[in-house]
Amino acid sequence: MVIQAENLTKRYGPTLAVDRVSFSVEQGEVVGFLGPNGAGKSTTMRMLTCFIPPTSGTARIMGLDVFSDSIEARRRIGYMPEAAPLYPDMRVIEYLRFRAAIKGVPPRDRRGRVAEVMDQCGVAGVQRKLIGALSKGYRQRVGLADALVADPPLLILDEPTIGLDPNQIRLVRQMIRGLAPKRTVLISTHILPEVEAVCSRVLIINRGRIACSQSVDELTRPAQERMTLRLEVRGPADAVAAALASAPGVAEALLESFAGGVAAFTIKAQPGQDPREEISRRMLSRTWPVRELRACRLSLEDIFARITAAEVGEEPQP
């Protein structure tokens, strides 16, 4: 168990920022930490990285308590705070060497480690530049290089792709995916495609509570109890609709569009039924060419909206 949080609670005066959050993260997982703004993501991360102590509850990093064994726990974490605040008056290479030194990288390994992470994060080309003169994308990558420099087993990244352009986002995601087998990663974001792209599991936090903890696959797998299908077929819309409606297992066929002789339908199956093969047979028997027939995966966005909206105005469940 790399991270184990039990009833983690943070109270800022009368405000309950994080409320009895419990979760664990296993070795090698890449966990996406999702939630609306102000849900308690950053506060939770700050407690895990020993920046602020929890009001109550405990968190362990590889068995080390973040409060009583703080320094040892910190040695095992590479943390990139939100927006990667760095020292603008240092050169990239100086900064990374400084960070390597305070993170306890032995002097003889520092040069090598710093060169390695600069290559890995694509900042070797700007190593002599002052951090203050770098673009946001480069600064973000220097922050990531800093998180990696001491080769920690756990990486905690708070919104690592915020403010980057699409190409840079792709690079950062590739990098994070590349880290996965050796390291454990907890990454917070509210960009949902990012989670689908890099994470194996999601933790959704809403109003200070964990609202959901599931693998991305489980979460977005087509809902088995009631499938939703999408069909695009070239043929007369009315006749196709009739053929669909009469097919066994189909509860409802809704014409979405009809243009250029192509009809698009959204089909709801009856509970427990999979009418895909029957539909395909019926279309072919009437020689209506099928352009598309697929089971819709639930989008993470829908799930996120459902989970985070459901709790608004309700008391959090104990």
Binding site: Y12, E72, P81, I102, G104
Partner: protein, 253 residues
């Protein structure tokens, strides 16, 4: 204190890189430089006073000059320390710093060491003025050295107060104001004796940095002064560590 060396190296570099440091040093040197000929002239014309307390005009010139230096410190110290921690709070880099495996105390001592190194550099530049005094007169070198030692100790103390004030807030102006206020309060403790007298007055007189310096100016260097300045420096650095730790229980993120 294992991480102190790399932290202090970075802070020293930062202090020497900061434009603010050089602005403070420039103002300090312009003021001392502008007053220096006046003080030197004055020393050679007020021979009565010179004969009574100081052996010769050069001694008096050196004394007057270093008194000016120590007075200016009251304003230079808050300016030198104004940004050290408040800037980290403002930019958020404090989070990266304190989630590294370093202790709050290491960070505070390193911050202080950085500004103290620059402070010593700034004071060393007044050696140019002193060279004139030594060239045109022959002041008591021991007295001058003792006075410099006093200035160095006073600087350590005032800068520790400045680091404390900077740890309190993300607003550099507030940090500077608080530092100035605390330094003034310490500097004026000698007045308690003047206004109220008695044992309380005596107590505060022993705690007044400028009256301790007055002894050192005359070449009287005692353990008392060293203990006072070093323990006051340690006390304010300790307070700065506590202020930095306040993030742990403050009611705001």
């Amino acid at each position: 204190m294992r991480n102190l060396a790399p932290l202090a190296r970075r802070e020293i570099a930062s202090a020497f890189f900061s434009p603010l440091s050089y602005v403070v040093a420039a103002v300090f040197l312009v003021l001392t430089g502008a007053f220096f000929p006046y003080l030197a002239d004055n020393a050679s014309s007020t021979s009565d006073l010179v004969d009574q307390i100081w052996n010769q005009p050069a001694d008096w010139a050196a004394h007057q000059f270093l008194s000016l230096v120590q007075t200016l410190l009251m304003f230079a110290a808050p300016l030198l320390t104004i940004r050290v921690l408040s800037e980290e709070h403002r930019s958020g880099s404090i989070e990266a710093l304190l989630t590294a495996p370093v202790t709050d105390a290491e960070v505070v001592v390193a911050k202080w060491a950085g500004v103290y190194a620059f402070f010593l550099f700034m004071i060393a530049l007044t050696g140019a003025h002193m060279a004139f005094v030594f060239h045109y007169g022959s002041p008591d070198a021991w007295r001058v050295a003792a006075h410099y030692l006093g200035v160095a100790l006073l600087g350590a103390f005032f800068l520790a107060i400045g680091v404390f004030a900077s740890a309190l807030t993300r607003n550099a102006i507030v940090a500077g104001g608080v530092a100035l206020l605390l330094i003034m309060a310490h500097s004026l403790t000698g007045l308690v004796d003047y206004y109220f007298g008695g044992r309380l007055g005596q107590f505060f007189k022993q705690m007044a940095p400028y009256s301790l310096l007055a002894q050192m100016e005359q070449g009287m260097v005692t353990l008392h002064q060293g203990v006072f300045f070093i323990s006051m420096t340690a006390f304010w650095l300790f307070m700065a560590t506590r202020a930095l730790e306040s993030r742990k229980w403050r009611a705001s993120p």
